[in-house]
């Protein structure tokens, strides 16, 4: 019985516990409630994945109203994978959050922080499972608003400016998406995504739909931080409170990428997006520029947090490139890398948060010799970093492998070479951190630094071990991604 209600339950768990959390004054109790809600969501997400495994689609009618009149919740393998990404990585970050917040925030504030965090998670889950275009906009705004609030909690005053800039950019992006949805509604008279997908092809020559597509592309590109609209990302990630960055880096842009894939392939349709509007001509150069510029800038950063933020710009470039290459390997790599990169970046930012917890700075100079003072944390960091570079037997290798084979499938040798060069650039910036951590002398003021408490160390190591696990067992990542890619591409042809 309960299994048929799962799509609603996975959303309501976090959505309802957020306001309850905000009313609990004791921060510890709020944390326990948050933990209970998110780990149950993780279980629900895995249960949903097992229900749709193999390629079935669940359709749940909210309030019993059949679509296209009522709001439909749709879960297929792609959304189930994104659900696992949000809930599992969010839950791991929340597990570390209590210890991480203890030193920096007075405890009566904690409950509000957890409430905002849960609200953000609920909204991201909502975006992932909803089958209604307008719902996507509403949830996108809820998640963005809570993200701005979380970023503004950073104590450095630059966090405020970063949050404000993100608010302006994010609102413009979301409003563009709203315009796009309005235009679609204008022509078709429906907001249900499956219904839209059926009705849009006959209007492919309609200028309103073409304008809608343009608005949508710009709006979502802002949210995904596609170069040159990535301007908000480095500062937002750098100045957000430590553990929050791990959650944001893992989820916000990935879910936006999911919306991009969903709309481009399912709603507008491959035929319209790529054959008629030539989206690939736009996205391929931009993503390549993003990859090169992001990696290049990352190499020259002395603040590790900013370095990782710039590396995110480059890695998002990989995902968008995978989408734009428009073949099975490319799309497989985009979906796989979405999951893998979320895992690795969340782990890296969390390990970095652990270092900041002890050292008090994320500057390379202060992290000198940290491999000796905090051996366990740094070892996890190195494993995750290796994943980012794409060393075999780590998750990053799988997604990059698919991306390079996508370039080779197209016969674009220079592109494949370029991807390998950019991996070397990733190696350069990770090596820079490893060099500081293991081969530099420990500064005097950090001589008595120890490893972090178990409650932070465990999530960090879970991320590191998952990175290795998904580098070997790819049934859930690349396996699902391949089926998703075939399904998305076959709709058109």
């Amino acid at each position: 019985m309960i299994s048929t209600q799962l799509p609603a339950i996975v959303l309501l768990l976090t959505l309802l516990s957020a306001p309850i959390c905000s009313m609990i004054r004791n921060g510890d109790h709020a944390w326990k409630l948050a933990m209970f809600a998110v780990w149950l969501s993780v279980a629900a997400a895995f249960a949903l994945m097992s229900q749709v495994w193999g390629g079935t689609t669940l359709s749940y009618h909210m309030g019993g109203w059949p679509p296209p009149w009522g709001i439909e919740v749709r879960v297929d393998e792609l959304s189930a994978l994104v659900l696992i990404l949000i809930t599992l990585f969010g839950a791991l970050v929340i597990s570390a959050l209590r210890e991480s917040l203890r030193t920096v925030m007075r405890s009566h504030r904690h409950s509000l922080y957890y409430a905002t965090f849960l609200l953000c998670m609920a909204a991201l889950i909502g975006i992932t499972i909803t089958g209604d275009a307008f719902n996507v906009f509403v949830f996108l705004e809820i998640s963005s608003l809570s993200t701005y609030a979380l970023i503004a909690r950073g104590r450095d005053r630059r966090a405020l400016v970063a949050a404000f800039r993100y608010l302006i950019m994010g609102t413009i992006g979301a409003t563009f998406i709203l315009i796009a949805i309005g235009f679609m509604y204008m022509v078709t008279g429906t907001l249900n995504m499956a219904d839209l997908a059926q009705r849009l092809p006959e209007h492919a020559d309609n200028k309103v739909i073409q304008a809608s597509f343009a608005f949508f592309t710009v709006g979502i590109a802002l949210k995904v931080a596609v170069f040159p609209l990535h301007y908000w990302l480095p500062n937002a990630y750098t100045y957000a409170p430590k553990a929050t960055t791990a959650f944001l880096a893992a989820t916000a842009t990935k879910v936006a990428l999911y919306v991009m894939i969903r709309f481009i392939f399912d709603v507008y349709g491959v035929e319209f997006s790529f054959s008629q509007m030539r989206l690939d001509m736009l996205l391929i150069p931009l993503s390549i520029a993003g990859i090169l510029l992001g990696s290049m800038t990352a190499i020259f950063q002395s603040d590790v947090k900013r370095l990782l933020a710039w590396s995110s710009v480059a890695q998002l470039g990989y995902m968008v490139l995978g989408v734009a290459l428009l073949n099975t390997s490319g799309l497989t790599s985009a979906v796989t890398h979405m999951f893998n990169h979320a895992m690795m970046k969340a782990g890296l930012f969390l390990a970095l948060a652990a270092m900041i917890y002890r050292v008090g700075s994320s500057n390379l100079r202060d992290l000198a010799g940290i491999g000796r003072t905090m051996p366990l944390t740094t070892a996890a960091f190195v494993i995750l970093g290796a994943g980012l570079v794409g060393v075999p037997l780590t998750a990053g290798f799988i997604s990059k492998w698919y991306l390079v084979s996508a370039a080779l499938d197209k016969g674009w040798l220079p592109l494949a070479a370029l991807l390998i060069i950019s991996s070397l650039m990733a190696l350069a910036y990770i090596a820079k951190i490893v060099d500081a951590a293991y081969f530099q002398p420990v500064p005097d003021q950090h001589q008595n630094v120890r490893d972090v408490p178990v409650s932070i160390l465990t999530p960090v190591w879970v991320f590191a071990l998952l990175t290795i696990y998904f580098g070997i067992d790819t049934r859930m990542t690349a396996g699902v991604a391949e089926r998703v890619a075939q399904a998305l591409l076959s709709v058109a042809s």
């Binding site: 307008f134 705004e141 949050a163 404000f164 709203l178 309005g182 700075s361 100079r365």
Partner: protein
């Protein structure tokens, strides 16, 4: 041409004016105002497309057969709430920015940020511990 599409021309003008203010203004609060004008333009766009010519309010009554489409209005109620929340949060952040920087001018803030950056690079401060 203008007569039939009057609402849409208003939408275009408001939208461009709003976006221009967001981009051209250095004052953070003015940016928020521009953002509001921009969003309002979109609200008007939605409400205009719900109008059915000759239609009346969508309440079933004798003697009326044509009704306006109420759905866009409902959507925009939600969007207005979102807009209000965005404005509130934006203004709250602007107030915090004013407290922290003593100015809400974007270029002054950028100059102060550059100073912060230099200080970070010069000495290994502990700015990030408190985040």
């Amino acid at each position: 041409m203008i007569e039939g599409l009057f609402n849409y021309w208003v939408v275009i003008i408001l939208m461009m004016a709003g976006l221009y203010v967001v981009m051209a203004s250095r004052h953070l609060v003015k940016k928020i105002i521009g953002l509001n004008i921009f969003q309002t333009a979109v609200f008007i766009l939605f409400i205009s497309l719900g109008k059915v010519s000759g239609g009346t309010a969508p309440i079933i009554a004798d003697g009326f057969a044509v009704y306006s489409n109420p759905l866009p209005h409902v959507l925009i109620l939600t969007a207005i709430v979102v807009g209000v929340a965005t404005t509130a949060l934006g203004l709250a952040i602007a107030v915090r920015v004013y407290e922290a920087y003593d100015t809400v001018d974007e270029e002054d803030i950028a100059a102060l940020d550059a100073e912060d950056q230099q200080r970070d690079n010069a000495v290994s401060t502990v700015t990030d511990t408190t985040s």
